[in-house]
Structure formats: C-alpha cells, structure tokens
C-alpha cells in the first residue's frame, strides 16, 4: 500500500458552546477509510452526522472542530483555507443528504442544479456541462433525462428527487461520498432502488463511501465495515459480516433490538443504557 | 425566601393555574429585562406614562398655552429650556403636556380598535360560511386602503379635532386585528376543548365570549404594542396637517407644523417636538420587538 488511505481521522472532537457550557457532539473519534464502504450507525444525537459535516468542513457556527489528524488522500484537511475547502467540496468529496424535498433548491430547475456542481469545478461551456448533466441523469437511471432536466424539484417524486441529488453530488466525480441517511425519507419500495443505484456508482467509479444510518440492517447488508457510535464516541468497529460477534454491549443490544424474520420474538428487547459507556 | 419564590416561578411542573400564569409572566419579564433593546423600550414607555401623568409638575407649572409675545422664538436658554415658539409659548412645557395628548390618542385608538377587530374576527372565524366571506371581504377592502390617506379623508369629513382623529385612525387600523382574531378563532374553534364545551350545551355567545375571545386577546395585545408607533406617527401626521388637536392644545405633530416656516432660522421650534415623537415611537417599537421575541421566538 503505497497510496495513503482515502480518509484518515485521529482523535476528532466537535463541540458546540451553549448556555450550559460545551456540548460535545463528537469525542475522540478515530478511523480510516480506503476505497470501501464504511457504515456509521448510531441513534440520533450520537454524533454520526456531525462526523460527516466535520469531514466536509461544514460544521455550523459556532461549532469547534479539533483533531490530531484529519486528511483526505494525504491532503491535510485541518490546515485548509476557505477557498481550498471550496475547490475540494463537490470535486473530491461530496454528500447526499436525507430528504430531496429540502436539499434541492425549490426555485431552480433540476438541470441547472446538476450542471452547477460541474461548472463550479470544471471550466466548460454551457453545452458541455449540459451534456455531462444529462449523462449523469442517465447514470442514475432516469429515463426521460431531457424532460426531467427542465423540471422543478417539487415536480419530482421522492425517489426521483434522491436520484437527482445523487447525480448532482457525483457529477464532479468525487473520490469520497458521504451518504447521510440517503433513503430514510423514501418509501420502502423505492429505498432499495436508490440503494442499488448508489451501490453501482460507487463500485463502478471506485469511490469511497461513508454511509450514515440509524438502520443496522441496511448498513450491515450494504457496507464492508461498520462503526457504531454512541454519545459522540466510536464504541465498536468491525466488519459488517462479523457484526454478530460484536463485543460492545450497546452494539449487542442494538442487534437484539432489531426485529428479525428468522426467529420469533414475542417482545422486542429495549436497549438498556449503561452510564459507563459515556465515560 | 426569594430563592424558593424564584424556584416556584421557574418550575416546569406548575401545580396550579396561578403558578403557571405567574411563571410565564416571570419568564417573559426576565426576557424583556435582560434584552437591552426591549428594556430601553420599556423604560421609554414608562417615562412617557410618568411624564403624561405628572405633566403639570414636570413642566414646572409653566402653562403650555401662556403666550409671551415679547419672548417670541427665543432660543433654548435657562429660562426656556427648549426655547419658545412663534407665540412665545414655552416649548418645554408644551412638549411635556403634549405627552398627554399622544397618550390619550394612543389609548383611545387601542380601546376602539381591539374590540372592533375582535368582534369582526371572532364572528367571522366562529360562524364561518357567508358571514365569514362577507366580513373578510370587507376587511380586505379596508386593508387594501392607504391608511393615512383614508384617515385624512375621514378626518376631513368629520372635521378636525382629537376625537375625530381617533375615530379616523381607528376606522383605518382595525382590519389587521380582525385578521389575527379570525385566524386564532379558526384554530381554537377546531380544538377538542371547544367541542367539549359544545357537548355540554353551551350557547354560541357563551363560547365566543368565555372561551374564544380571551384566547385571542394575547396576540391582539402584542400586535397593539407593535402598532402603537404607527398610530403615534399617523396621529402626529394628522396633527401636522392641522387635522388633529386644535390650537392652542399642545400636540407634537401640530407643534412641528408651527415650526415649519421658521425651520431655517429657529430650528428648535420644529425639532424638539419631532424628537419627542421619534423617541416615543422608538420606545414602542423596541418594546414591541422585545415582546414578539418573547412570545414568538421563531421570528426573532
């Protein structure tokens, strides 16, 4: 391995000053990522999304981000200036957010929003950007790309919207995609479809993927490796197919709490929390 | 003792209705007092009240209408703190007494506008159907009017004077209150506790006056505070045009108007009462903003 890993994070801390002192959203998280699919699981407030924002340098004010090391393919992210960040976002790493209803700009046509990402990072003519955008729409399996190109976001269904979102975030061919609950807002029937498209694109383009979700089942079937976060800490890291051998009591409790078709459970178990886990 | 009282007020789980109401008041009061802008507004409004109440004392027993033609248009001095006007009247005394007129107008408008708005709004919202359509259409028509020009036309028709200015302003100021009251009524009327009251066999009038009107009142009051500045400015505008209080009553707008012709040489005649209008409406604006921040943090 001569090539540095795609992402290296050591001792990442994110905290928000508030009335009652600092709220520590992420505490001492360390992990690394190659061109693989890494799942981050945890309940709301566990710091999984904040970790994603920190990687993109978009932790909202007045959040404070510190880390011993945070790099993308060897580029030190901690020392980046704002304009470096801008040329990096979208081009080298990108993010698909939860609900296309809110994450697509409602008054701009779909085509324009997809082209925008391309043109922010490539010097190109309008025609060329348009060609790329149409190709990208086809890559996310939208059939009438020409027509969809001219629609406004509210004219799309949820699944279509999320595919447009993926197209918009991948058109500049980033090396890393962070998907933050990309299917939680969708109907169950469309979820799989969107996941498959995401899966294909990541595989074909050889990207790294960080898949953030609260859904252990999806993550374990979709990812190579899983991080489990609890209270801002990474409490467990293991291969997805070895989850059943997880050591941390929280992970084990999570697995127990998930309903399963394989065995009959008269009552789902509830996670009993131990204050020790936060220590 | 004070500590336990503070705790009692701040409790998340009030044991009685009184504790809940007082606790909310205390939280609101604290939010106003800790917000410098709102506090400034509150102090200005309190100052206006004090000045209006004790005008003769504060004016140092100088009559606001006593003329002294020998001392016409005198600049500010120790004898006349703010100078004198074209009839030699003391501008300080007139400004202080003007607070009374302003306060009277503002209070009278509030007394007229809130009931009209409430009546129209709650009736429209509760009765619905064609009553609603008709009342709201009328409200919209009034809302679409330019306020000052309409007030002007009314004042012209009714003749000049404070009472007529109040009526003119009220006639143009009620529509927003009707809108607010209607919106609130529609939500309240759909709620379960009203359904319960209906099941108990209460008459419509009783439901309206005992249950719906009291609940609309708070948003109407906030709106009134925010509107006060506008009312003061409209009243002063009418006064400036000669349609408000008639001479020799000291009214700020009319005082500015009397200083118009001498603005280039005797600036104080127009400037001082204008400053009073400005400060008082700024006070109401600051207080209103603060109140809205407390009651509706979303728009802060």
């Amino acid at each position: 391995m001569s090539e540095p890993p795609l992402i290296e994070v050591e001792d990442l801390n994110v905290s928000f000053p508030g009335r009652g002192g600092l709220t520590r959203a992420v505490r001492g998280a360390s992990f690394s990522l190659g061109r693989e699919r890494l799942g981050i699981v945890g309940e709301s407030g566990s710091g999984k999304s904040t970790t994603g924002w920190a990687l993109l340098g978009l932790v909202p004010r007045p959040g404070i981000v510190t880390a011993r090391r945070m790099s993308l393919s060897g580029t030190d992210l901690l020392s980046l200036g704002e304009s470096d960040w801008q040329s990096l976002r979208g081009r080298r790493m990108s993010m698909v957010m939860q609900d296309p209803k809110y994450s697509l700009n409602p008054v701009l046509r779909v085509g324009r929003q997809i082209q925008e990402t391309y043109r922010l990072h490539h010097r190109s003519s309008a025609a060329e950007a348009r060609r790329h955008a149409l190709a990208m729409l086809e890559a996310v399996r939208i059939r009438d790309a020409d027509q969809v190109f001219h629609l406004y976001p509210h004219q799309l269904s949820g699944g279509m919207g999320q595919r447009v979102m993926i197209a918009m975030m991948l058109i500049a061919e980033p090396d890393l995609l962070i998907a933050d609950e990309p299917t939680s807002a969708l109907d169950v029937t469309v979820q799989n479809q969107v996941l498959r498209i995401l899966d294909d694109l990541v595989t074909v383009r050889g990207m790294g993927l960080i898949f953030i979700s609260h859904n252990l089942t999806i993550v374990s079937s979709f990812c190579d490796r899983v991080l489990v976060m609890y209270g801002g800490r990474i409490v467990e890291e293991c291969k997805a197919d070895e989850l059943d051998r997880a050591k941390h009591p929280y992970t084990r409790a999570l697995i127990r709490a998930a309903p399963s078709l394989a065995s009959y459970q008269p009552e789902l178990s509830v996670v009993v929390r131990d204050p020790e886990w936060l220590a | 003792m004070t500590g336990s009282l503070r705790q009692w007020l701040a409790s998340d789980q009030p044991a009685s209705r009184r504790q809940a109401v007082l606790g909310n008041l205390a939280r609101g009061a604290k939010a106003i007092i800790t917000n410098p802008a709102a506090l400034t507004g509150l102090l200005i409004v309190i100052a206006l009240l004090i000045v209006a109440l004790f005008a003769p004392l504060i004016a140092g027993r100088i009559s606001p209408i006593a003329q002294d033609l020998a001392a016409r248009l005198a600049p500010p001095s120790s004898a006349h703190w703010f100078g004198t006007d074209e009839l030699g009247r003391d501008i300080y005394a007139r400004t202080v007494h003007g607070a009374r007129v302003t306060l009277t107008i503002v209070m009278l408008v509030a007394v007229f506008v809130a009931p009209i708005g409430l009546a129209v709004g709650t009736a429209a919202g509760y009765l619905g159907g064609w009553v609603d359509a008709l009342l709201m259409r009328i409200t919209d028509i009034f809302l679409a009017f330019p306020r000052l020009v309409l007030a002007l036309a009314f004042a012209a028709a009714l003749g000049p004077g404070i009472e007529n200015a109040v009526i003119a302003i009220s006639l143009t100021a009620w529509p927003p209150y009707a809108r607010i009251a209607r919106a609130e009524t529609v939500t309240i009327a759909r709620s379960d506790f009203i359904a319960a009251v209906v099941l108990q066999g209460a008459a419509s009038a009783r439901i309206l006056f005992r249950h719906i009107v009291p609940l609309c009142l708070s948003s109407v009051i906030v709106r009134l505070t925010l509107d006060m500045a506008g009312i003061i400015l409209t009243a002063a505008g009418l006064g400036f045009l000669g349609l408000g209080a008639q001479p020799p009553t000291a009214e700020w707008g009319a005082m500015v108007s009397s200083g118009r012709d001498v603005i280039l040489d005797q600036w104080w005649v127009a400037t001082i009462p204008g400053l009073a209008i400005f400060i008082v409406s700024l006070g109401f604006n600051l207080l209103g903003d603060g109140l809205r921040d407390v009651l509706d943090p979303k728009n802060a």
Partner: protein
Amino acid sequence: MAGGTEMKGLAAGRPAFAVVRRFAAFLGSLLLTFLGLTAVTFGIGRFIPVDPVLAVVGDHATRAVYDKTYLAMGLDRPVPVQYLIYLRKLVSGDFGQSVMTSRPVLSDLMQFFPATFELATIATLIGVIIGVPAGVTAGALKGRWPDHLVRIVGLFGYSMPVFWLGLVGLFVFYGKLGWVSGPGRLDVAYDDIVTSRTGIILVDSLIEGEWAVFRNAIAHLILPAGILGYFSLAYIARMTRSFMIEQLSQEYVVAARVKGRSFWGAVWHHAFPNIMVALITVIGLSYASLLEGAVLTETVFAWPGLGLYITHSLFNADMNAVLGGTLMVGAVFIGVNLLCDLLYKIFDPRLRTQ
C-alpha cells in the same frame, strides 16, 4: 400537493386553464375592492356636514336655483341609486369639478400625479438598491455587527415622523450646508423651459437635452426622494433580512456548500432566488405606501404632487378634489397590491405548475 409518488410534473396539465382561472379571480377581486373603495369615498362624500348643493351654487343662490340643482344632482333619489349614479360618473371619468381650481378633478389629478410618481419611483429605487443588499447581508450575518447596524437603521426609520425628518433635512442640507436645493421641483429660473410631455421633469428635460434643467431637478429631488427612500429602505431591509434568515436555515443552502459554493455564493445564488418572489411583494407594498407617505413629504417640500393636492383641497373644503385624490391613491395602492399578488403567483414555480 396532492398526487402520489408518480411524476407529477410531466402530467401537470391544464396550465393554460389554470392561468385563465387565476386571472379571472384576480379581476374579480380587483373589481370587488374597487367597488368597496368607491363605496367608502361615496359614503364619506354623503357623510360630510357640508351641503353639496351649496358647494356648487354658492351661498347667494335663489331657492329656485337651489332646488333645480338639488334635483339635477339626483339628491332626491334613494341612496343606492345615488351610488350607482356616482359609479356611472366615475366610470366615464367624471370626478366632479374642483372648487379650488374650477377644473375637472380628473384633469387636476393627471397634472399632479407625475410629480408624485417621479418622487415615489426614485425613492423606491433608493430603497431597493440599498435595502436589498443590506437586508441580505444582515440576514446572512445574523447576530453580528452588520446585522445590528441594519436593525438599528431600520428601527429608526420605523420610528421617525417623515415630515419631521424632512424639515430637519431641509434645515441641515439646504439651510446649513447648501448641498441641495430647497422646496419645489425646480428653481423659478428653470420653470417653463421644458414643455411637459410626461410631466416627469427628469424625463422631459432629458428628451429636450436641457441638462441645466435636469441637474436642477435632481438637486430638488434628491432630498425628498432620499428621505422617502430611507423609509422604504428600512422596510425593505427588515423584510429581506427575515426572509433571508428563513431561507439560510434550509437544507438546500448546505447542499450548495457541499457542491463547492462559497458561503456568499450560496447566499446569492441559492437563497436569494428563493426570496425574490416575496421581495416583489414587499417592494410593491413599499412603493404603494410611498405614494401615501408622499402626502406628508410633499407638504414639507412643497412638492406639487397628489399629496399636496389632496391636503390643499382639504383646507379649501373641496370635497370632490379630496375624494378624487383619495380614489386615485387608493386605486394605485390596490392596483399595485393585486399586481404583486399576481406576480407572486406567476413567478413562484411551486405555485405556477400546480
């Protein structure tokens, strides 16, 4: 927002029909509001203690003349019929005679309106050019000093009596500093050089290439327009700020940053297009209310516009002129209001294609 998960847009049918229906509704509400407006002016006209017959025939008319005029004015008919007569006259452009100028009120209004239009338009331009960027900046930097500055400037604007600010402005910039010209639209020396085509002196002087007149008109216009512009600015900036804050909390703004937009790029290219539609309404409302604010400003600056006409008529008990002026301002006000409403519905893609 009804409709399932299927693609709504491709089938979003009958757009032409929807536009027609919306336009009909627009015309309907326009008509109703105008009826209301005329009912109010008619009511005020009936309400005044002045005897309308005496106002026409004068105090010295004989009984016979008085009675004849009384009948000719239709005053013996029932009130609703009188209202209809009033309406029919209005529609045919008959606003009655002005006692003060002894001319038809309508031609008076036509003569005075351009001055007000000129003043309000320039003031709105000032309000938009400064107010919109100021509001956007304040909203984007919420809670920091530019925001506080804009808020204070706005609060002052909301609290100042316009007539007083006008007088103080005259005292300082005309009396003390001599930077601007005094009241009126032109110095006497420049009167009647330019023939009135549009009635808007800035335009008329440009058409004839009279630069001296143009400059003089600007020198007279700048102070009243600046003062009205300040009030417009205060309102526009405050509304822009709150729209901006609302939009900047939306996820699509973050998405734009993820794509590689700078913060200000996201503000102007993404959040701003979303507030533009609402801004149209705000600017329209501010424009309409300037026509009204002009009543006081014109009095202070002796600006021969609608406002001055209305107030002068008022003191001459010239009720036809007052009501005609009120009707005119009201009509413009309502027209602008409804136009904004219509533009809103046309320009917002979410409303347009539903």
